[in-house]
């Protein structure tokens, strides 16, 4: 069972990843698939910007344009941003709390495979009759009228991947509640762990309404129900409510982990304890809490009435307060710090003004009467790209640089990283800043072209030019990844030299059991404390070296997800009439799903033990730093 540097064949490696329940490998799976979908979404974005580069362009047809914007938004939110953040949560959070794995390793794997198959299912729509075309918000009045099966790929695909995300959320919550090392009290948890915790709670409570809405849509379109069919007494506003009750918390599910990553970065590279740790924690909790009370700010123009609009406008403005608190804490963390401008730190510093700009436009939109002017214009597009790209994507790029050595044991090139940063950052502002003005000039969102007489040519051309810069930045990043992987210069436990939390106290990448001995935590920034006191081991231990219990790998999560994937095709074609096999496919898929579930439930899975002798062996050959 000796572990670390076994050489495996290609097939064996694939099988290993298909059956793994190790949070660090699952993190790699999330990172690779999320990264892949990020590229797919990026290509879609470039197609959009090519189409809009000049007036009256006919590069894309109107219908295809609708499919591309829908898939771009859906992919970026559900299949790129979230999974990449889940990758970091998986890779880092258990290490930060001194745990050997997450609470439910089996479910962790299931969560990944559900997301993965859901994403594949959604994207297969391109090859099977056309993609969804009702926008990522999929409003029922549009969606019910959409021909073909595009919308059904959306509803079924998101249902599958949504289950995966829900499972991941529950898993992280239990892990943080139950698996913290001795001494790791809640108020000693690193901020990335805290934001993972709150984001997971949001996942837990926000995804069920989405799932319910998706099921209504599936039933309406595929099984003849009437939830949104107005002529049959249905009501399309129900979809909007369910979608946004999910949708607004969703944007916080994305941004909170991003805040967490930046909090780590500010502390590490300012070589200072986070300023106002307690305030940051409570601001995180508050944002999570308020996040559920503002959804109708997406529906100001629906006509819910002045009272509802006023209440939701106020609630929305209040959210800006805890967000502002965070900004000041970060600034004061940098203030007087001993700063080193590594790539992650550059991203973090650039994030602050970018995100603040997005927050300011958010508060503008929260003013309900003004939003009647801004709604569904390019101003909205500018706002959410400022918060999502200027916040979430910058965090993802920063986190990739920061955690790459911990995940893969080698450092991305700082030099190429800086090139990526400058292309991406300049491109980002060039693309989106000007869209505020396009919006104010009246350009509506989600239109496939515009006339030469409308005066929007120049600004759109500038916006498209910015997109090219961003694409160049991403390509340099890919080159960076490839070159780093080929060079493969191994690094030690704490490659940045200034790590503060437990993940930097163990080898990069860590052995599969993470901690040979569970650490004893003595305070916030526990690794930093030990370093300052000259503890060469980087931690003190809560237990003597002894046998470690580990879970077994399993192929069942993969098979279960495959079952749902197959069943979805059955559901998709169920009412088509000319496809009698649809019911059979639905039933077979369900049988695979429930059969493998039953197998899992009936077969004992007790895991295995790593003995003390093996651990000692590992420690000798293993100080994995060097090879």
């Amino acid at each position: 069972m000796s572990s670390i540097a076994q050489k495996k064949g290609f097939g064996a490696t694939i099988w290993d990843f298909m059956t793994t329940v190790d949070h660090k490998k699952i993190a790699i799976l999330y990172l690779i698939s999320g990264g892949f979908f990020f590229l797919v979404g990026g290509v879609e974005a470039m197609l959009i910007r090519i189409q809009l580069a000049k007036a009256g362009n006919d590069f894309l047809s109107a219908g295809l344009y609708n499919e591309i914007i829908t898939m771009h938004g859906t992919t970026m939110i559900f299949l790129a941003s979230m999974p990449i953040l889940l990758a970091f949560m998986n890779a880092i959070m258990p290490l930060q709390i001194g745990a050997r794995d997450v609470a439910f390793p089996f479910l962790n794997s299931l969560g990944f495979w559900l997301f993965f198959f859901g994403g594949i299912f959604l994207n297969l729509s391109w090859f099977m009759g056309g993609a969804p075309d009702a926008g990522w918000t999929n409003y029922a009045s549009l969606a019910l009228a959409s021909e073909g099966h595009g919308i059904d790929f959306y509803t079924l695909g998101l249902t599958i991947s949504g289950f995966g995300t829900l499972i991941a959320g529950i898993n992280f919550l239990v892990t943080i509640i139950n698996m913290r090392a001795p001494g790791m009290t809640y108020m000693r948890m690193p901020l990335f762990t805290w934001t993972t915790f709150v984001a997971s709670a949001l996942i837990l409570l926000a995804f069920p309404p989405l799932t319910v809405g998706l099921f209504f849509m599936i039933f309406d379109r595929l099984f003849g129900a009437n939830f949104f069919a107005v002529d049959m007494g249905g009501n399309t506003i129900i979809w909007e409510h369910l979608f946004w009750i999910f949708g607004h918390p969703e944007v916080y599910i994305l941004i909170l982990p991003a805040f967490g990553i930046f909090s780590e970065i500010f502390a590490i590279f300012s070589r200072k304890r986070l300023f106002g740790y307690t305030a940051l924690v409570f601001a995180t909790i508050l944002i999570g809490f308020y996040g559920f009370m503002v959804w109708a700010h997406h529906m100001f123009t629906v006509g819910l009435g002045p009272t509802a609009n006023a209440v939701f406008a106020l609630a929305t403005m209040i959210i800006a307060v805890p967000t502002g608190i965070k900004i000041f804490n970060w600034l004061l963390t940098i203030w007087g710090g001993n700063i080193s401008f590594t790539v992650p730190m550059i991203y973090a510093v650039a994030f602050i003004p970018s995100f603040v700009a997005g927050g300011v436009t958010g508060v503008m939109q929260a003013i309900a009467p003004l939003d009647y002017q801004l709604h569904d214009s390019y101003f909205i597009v500018a706002h959410f790209h400022y918060v999502i790209v200027g916040g979430v994507v910058l965090a993802i790029l920063a986190g990739t640089h920061l955690y790459w050595p911990k995940m893969f044991g080698t450092m991305l090139s700082e030099k190429l990283g800086k090139w990526t940063f400058w292309f991406f950052f300049i491109g980002f502002h060039l693309t989106f800043f000007i869209q505020h003005f396009l919006g104010l000039m009246g350009m509506p969102r989600r239109v496939y072209t515009f006339g030469a007489d409308q005066g929007w040519d120049l600004f759109n051309a500038i916006s498209s030019a910015g997109a090219v810069l961003m694409a160049i930045g991403v390509i340099i990043m890919l080159v960076n990844v490839v070159m780093t992987t080929i060079k493969n210069e191994r690094v030690g436990n704490d490659p940045w030299g200034d790590g503060r939390t437990l993940e930097w106290a163990i080898p990069s990448p860590p052995p599969f059991y993470n901690f040979a001995q569970t650490p004893l935590v003595r305070g916030l920034d526990t690794y930093w404390i030990e370093k300052m006191e000259g503890n060469k081991k980087g931690m003190i231990f809560a237990e003597p070296l002894g046998d470690i219990h580990m879970p077994n790998g399993s192929i069942i999560p993969f098979v279960m997800s495959l079952g749902m994937f197959i069943a979805s095709f059955g559901a998709l074609y169920f009412l088509d009439g000319d496809k009698p096999w649809a019911l059979a496919v639905l039933v077979i898929g369900m049988l695979i799903l429930f059969g493998s579930m039953l197998l899992r439930s009936l077969k004992d899975d007790l895991g295995f033990h790593i003995t003390k002798a093996e651990l000692l062996e590992d420690a000798k050959g293993g100080k994995t730093d060097g090879h």
Binding site: F207, N235, L242
Partner: protein
């Protein structure tokens, strides 16, 4: 945790469901899952209330004209009783009395299956009256809300049965005690949801 360790009622812990780390994890994870289920049913109830009695013009059935209380009341009593019998089963689980636990779980399953049978009868009856799933927004909302609950009952029954058969020969241990406990927790949750369905759908429906 050693699955082969034998226990006596004396050596059996007071709270076997949370005596191991795995058990504790499952316990908390399951409560969180129930939180998600609560939000799910809340969404279904809200939709049902929004669509109650809504349909195409000239729609035949509304709640007041359709629902009758006697059958539903009997179903309610049966399901409530099954919750009680599952409590007895857990009482015996905590006392390490495997046989009695199995017996009470058996009774729980019989009651649950009776409930499900009656629900199927009820749905069938409505369909024959001409109140089908696709007739109106109201009918869709009704069948999806009550049917989702029914699907939960079916899942709970299957779970009990699978656990009972799987462990029939080997009795209670630290590995399966949390599983029995969670299945019965799930069963209580289903019961509570039904109380809301009985009130919101049927009682308030008959009143009009």
């Amino acid at each position: 945790m050693d699955i082969n360790q034998k226990y006596t009622p004396q050596s059996w812990p007071d709270h076997p469901e949370t005596a191991t780390l795995e058990g504790k994890n499952k316990f908390i994870g399951f409560w969180l899952l129930l939180a998600a289920e609560t939000v799910t049913f809340a969404s279904l109830f809200a939709t049902y209330l929004a669509l109650k009695d809504k349909g195409p013009s000239g729609m035949e059935y509304s709640a007041a004209g359709l629902f009758e209380l006697p059958l539903v009341f009997a179903m309610t009593m049966i399901l409530l009783t099954s919750s009680l019998t599952s409590v007895y089963a857990m009482y015996h689980m905590k006392n390490h009395n495997f046989k009695a636990m199995q017996a009470w779980l058996g009774i729980t399953v019989i009651l649950g299956a009776t409930f499900l049978g009656l629900e199927i009868y009820e749905f069938n009856h409505y369909v024959h009256l001409g109140f089908g799933f696709t007739n109106s927004a109201f009918s869709s909302a009704f069948y999806v809300l009550v049917g989702t609950h029914g699907a939960h009952v079916l899942f709970g029954l299957s779970w009990f049965i699978a656990l009972m058969i799987r462990n029939s020969k080997r009795g209670l241990n630290m590995y399966n005690a949390p599983k029995f406990y969670l299945a019965s927790l799930y069963w209580h949750f289903i019961d509570v949801v039904w109380v809301f369905i009985f009130t919101v759908v049927y009682l308030m429906g008959v009143i009009g």
